[in-house]
């Protein structure tokens, strides 16, 4: 196997492109990002790395605007993400120039996926070590969520997770996703999904959403208090769930009595 991961364009005998798989490993080491699509709202949630003391946290952008109506979160190598985001931003404006129309979320996802694929089939380059979640609201006023990965695959998703513990989070989403969720429920699901893997709570979570009810498509960022409010609401619900499941003292005594008689 070891001979086949050197040059990128070479398949291994059993059909693997090892460089692409190693890129996916790099993605798995990146911070978690979650996307949820509701009826009128689409939400992106990202795990923020705990702030290094001397670093100015405001300069670390995890959710990036591609155009006024589309934005992207990625997991993996930050520098690769920056390069891909810049390529996508240029393409958004280029599209507006030639076609006199803003890009659709599908178009730009397809473009980003195309760029990622090109880097798996060119000489002397390595794949981008990132997967992306792309959210936006098109002119048809329908919220959209797409995802791409280092192989250049892209697909639309109802909800997805990328990065650290993505498998766990995706399973959580599969269990708890409800179609056509309203705005509040979509936000809550995204936060709940992130809380599965982000132990430290609201201060390490960033949430951005877009909704069709805005006259002009805008990306909204929740501030830390709004996220804390959601976290508290979720905690209370979890406690209520736990209370219901706990057997009461009287109930268990009755069980003992009936078991012995």
């Amino acid at each position: 196997m070891s001979g086949y991961d050197r040059a990128l364009t070479v398949f291994s005998p059993d059909g693997h492109l090892f460089q692409v798989e190693y890129a996916l490993e790099a993605v798995r080491r990146g911070t978690c990002a979650v996307g949820v699509r509701g009826k009128d709202t689409v939400v992106l949630g990202v795990e923020k790395k705990s702030a290094l003391k001397l670093q100015d946290a405001r300069t670390v952008r995890k959710v990036n605007l591609l155009d006024s109506h589309v934005c992207l979160a990625f997991a993996g190598l930050t520098a690769d993400g920056r390069v891909l985001v810049n390529k996508a931003r240029t393409e958004c404006q280029s599209h507006r120039l030639t076609v006199e129309d803003p890009v659709s979320v599908e178009y730009i996802s397809r473009h980003i996926a195309g760029v990622q694929q090109k880097y798996t089939q060119s000489g002397g380059v390595r794949p981008f070590g990132i997967s992306t979640l792309i959210m936006g609201v098109d002119s048809d006023k329908v919220p959209k969520l797409y995802s791409t990965d280092p192989s250049g695959t892209y697909a639309a998703w109802k909800a997805n997770a990328i990065g650290r513990n993505a498998k766990t989070v995706r399973e959580f989403l599969e269990k708890n996703y409800v179609a056509d969720a309203d705005h509040h429920d979509a936000l809550k699901l995204a936060v709940r999904a992130l809380l599965e893997v982000v132990q430290t709570g609201a201060k390490n979570i960033e949430i951005a959403y877009m909704t069709v009810t805005d006259a002009k498509p805008t990306v909204h960022n929740l501030d830390v208090h709004e996220i804390e409010a959601l976290v508290n609401e979720i905690e209370k619900e979890k406690e209520a769930e736990a209370e219901k499941k706990k057997p009461t003292a009287a109930g268990s005594a009755a069980n003992l009595a009936s078991a012995s008689s």
Partner: protein, 198 residues
């Protein structure tokens, strides 16, 4: 046959462009928009070779937008003018030079109102008032006579209308409709002045 005017006021810029699209002896269109809003506080006005004008102006418009998406902050007027002049200069000694004369007008919180005059040879200058096209031959004298610094909106618009009236008297082509834009801290306001209403 196209003309552009611009006057910098106290805390705003007023610009005007005629709206007639003329080829030889035919008026093709009477409400042509010879401007492109670069962002919320900057406007580019163009005259010159028809295809070049639109291609170049829209290219600049898209790049100004790209700048603000990339850098999370809108490009200021000086930046717009620098970028435009540089793009024009680079194209000058290339296969496809753009034959476009421009005015770039805008307002930003740090520098206040600014007006830039850029010609097709890529000379660029920040000026208190300017003309592009034949209008300059007739109206620079009007502007010299009546311009003073810190004009109010009414005074500046009146000066522009004096220039338009001068062209109506002395210029061979009939330019009935004019688009007047005022850019200040609140953004861009548009006014179309038609026919004999000047």
């Amino acid at each position: 046959m196209e003309s552009l005017f611009g006057v910098v006021g106290k805390d705003f810029v007023v610009v005007a462009s005629d709206m007639s699209s003329i080829r030889s002896i035919v008026v093709l269109k009477s409400h042509e928009d010879r401007t492109r809003d670069l962002n919320s506080h900057n406007v580019l006005l163009y005259t010159g070779e028809p295809g070049d004008c639109v291609q170049f102006s829209e290219y600049i418009q898209r790049n100004v937008q790209l700048y603000s998406i990339k850098n999370d902050v809108p490009l200021n007027t000086a930046g717009c003018a620098s970028f435009t002049r540089r793009a024009l200069a680079d194209s000058l000694r290339s296969r496809g030079a753009y034959q476009t004369n421009l005015l770039i007008a805008g307002w930003d919180p740090k520098d206040g109102p600014r007006l830039y005059w850029i010609d097709y040879l890529s000379s660029g200058l920040s000026v208190p008032f300017a003309c592009q096209g034949y209008g300059g031959y007739f109206c620079y004298s009007t502007m010299d006579r009546y311009y003073h610094s810190d004009m109010t909106k009414d005074e500046a618009v009146a000066l522009i209308k004096k220039c338009i009236a001068e062209l109506k008297t002395r210029f061979v082509a009939n330019l009935p409709n004019w688009q007047i834009k005022i850019i200040d801290k609140d953004g861009i306001t548009v006014n179309v002045v038609e026919g004999s209403a000047v």
